[in-house]
């Protein structure tokens, strides 16, 4: 590889940090789900609870699909990962559109809590996750939670991009 001819057909080796992040997002979403469903039930009765649960499930499935597609494509080539990200965006938007369209007239759905859940849970989970995501080469992906790992990690001995992606 040279500076003028970068290898866009290279691929990711080792564990993908994206999968760890998606797992973490889903785990946090499941943790916060009872609270959100309770809020929906308080505001919009039973329909609100079902709508919040449906919206949250949509968002978590969306994250999981995005991470799976990106990590699978990046193991083939970076160029394919770029294409997967762009077309994945379109397909995931279509998936959410179809999922909401199918239930919009159902008796157990209220659109306001469903829409609010989609926006709030998507952004909320992302901001929550950002607190735990490292942007240092010493700990690419997620920061390790164990104090022993944090103290013994040496950035000069752990520069492999895919190592150290420990779920927090």
């Amino acid at each position: 590889m040279t500076a003028t001819n970068p290898d866009a057909f290279g691929r990711l080796e080792g564990p993908a940090p994206v999968a760890a992040i998606a797992r973490d997002l889903v785990r946090r979403g499941l943790i916060i789900a009872p609270v959100l469903i309770g809020l929906g039930a308080v505001g919009w009765q039973t329909e609100g609870a079902w709508s919040v649960a449906y919206g949250l499930a949509l968002i978590l499935i969306n994250f999981a699909i995005a991470a799976y597609v990106l990590s699978a494509a990046s193991r083939i080539s970076f160029a394919l990962m770029g294409a997967a990200a762009l077309f994945g965006y379109l397909f995931r938007l279509a998936f959410i559109f179809a999922a909401v369209w199918l239930v919009k007239d159902a008796s157990w759905v209220r659109l306001v809590p469903l829409g609010l859940t989609i926006i709030v849970s998507h952004l909320g989970l992302l901001f929550w996750e950002m607190r735990y995501v490292s942007s240092s080469l010493a700990h690419p992906g997620l920061k390790p939670t164990s104090p022993s790992i944090r103290h013994t990690a040496n950035p000069h001995t752990n520069r492999n991009s895919s190592e150290g992606a420990t779920p927090s």
């Binding site: 970068p6 866009a8 940090p17 994206v18 970076f78 306001v112 690419p140």
Partner: protein, 92 residues
């Protein structure tokens, strides 16, 4: 004769209502399409730069991919906001 006139007025009113509903639906769909264009451009730029970074420095691919994933998700939130506004305006 008056009943025919009344029926014609009802039909005209129905036609106007249908036209109004069709206009509202097409406007909402147009707004949603416009709301999806911006994030599409943003994700395209983001992914292009990320692929270039990974191609130039494969050893930092994991870190770049992490940042790229979060960037895609944040950018996608804009499209989701547009979608939710579209759904609420059209159906709620």
């Amino acid at each position: 004769m008056s009943s025919i006139t009344a029926a014609a007025q009802v039909l005209a009113q129905l036609d106007a209502d249908a036209q109004k509903a069709a206009d509202a639906a097409s406007s909402a769909g147009f707004a949603y399409g416009l709301a999806a264009i911006g994030p599409g451009i943003g994700i395209g730029y983001l992914v292009g730069q990320a692929v270039q970074a990974m191609a130039r420095q494969p050893e930092s691919a994991g870190q770049v991919q992490t940042t790229m994933f979060l960037g895609i998700a944040f950018t996608e939130a804009l499209a989701l906001i547009g979608f939710v506004v579209f759904i609420l305006l059209k159906f709620a």
